[in-house]
Amino acid sequence: QKEVEQDPGPLSVPEGAIVSLNCTYSNSAFQYFMWYRQYSRKGPELLMYTYSSGNKEDGRFTAQVDKSSKYISLFIRDSQPSDSATYLCATDWGAQKLVFGQGTRLTINP
């Protein structure tokens, strides 16, 4: 079993839709959970992160962690074509190391 599992998609939705991206992880010791966004032919960039369980909101983006079910979610409200990218969830494997999910390719259609 991979440490972080993510449905690779692709996921295609119309502009303005609410998008839900999800990951599961295997190790209950993981504490920090991150979402990175990667545009085509670019390096990943940090979108947001949460610590332990709970929600975090940043503009149209909400990250949610449910430690009881080892489930990580990213919600995008009022999705825009500029949100089209690959979204990678990640978690910390102790200090100094991140473990990434496979990434979900998202397309927002105008």
Binding site: G43, P44, Y49, Q96, K97, V99
Partner: protein, 115 residues
């Protein structure tokens, strides 16, 4: 003024050759990383250096050898290239990791194709 830069951007080479990828960061970070992203977009850490010292060395063939001449540079040398080495290689950097590593700054990637 790019934060993390890599050269070259594209690299096409034949099996058996030796090649190097260079990485530089101007963020003043102490830690640098090499990642490999395969065709399925799976991003996996290979190495990390903190202040020129090797910290993480994942299960990577000996043909891959990182070298950090100073804390702003981390190069990756690959010997005897194989078809399976074809991937995008990303360099990244972060502040001194301490107990928390969340934000890593990635370079634009080097797309390696081995024929």
């Amino acid at each position: 003024d790019t934060a993390v830069s890599q050269t070259p951007k594209y690299l096409v080479t034949q099996m058996g050759n030796d090649k190097s990828i260079k990485c530089e960061q101007n963020l003043g970070h102490d830690t640098m990383y090499w990642y490999k992203q395969d065709s399925k977009k799976f991003l996996k850490i290979m190495f990390s250096y903190n202040n020129k010292e090797l910290i993480i060395n994942e299960t990577v063939p000996n043909r891959f050898s990182p070298k950090s001449p100073d804390k702003a540079h981390l190069n990756l040398h690959i010997n005897s290239l194989e078809l399976g080495d074809s991937a995008v290689y990303f360099c990244a950097s972060s502040q001194d990791p301490g107990p928390l590593v969340t934000e890593q700054y990635f370079g634009p990637g080097t797309r390696l194709t081995v024929t």
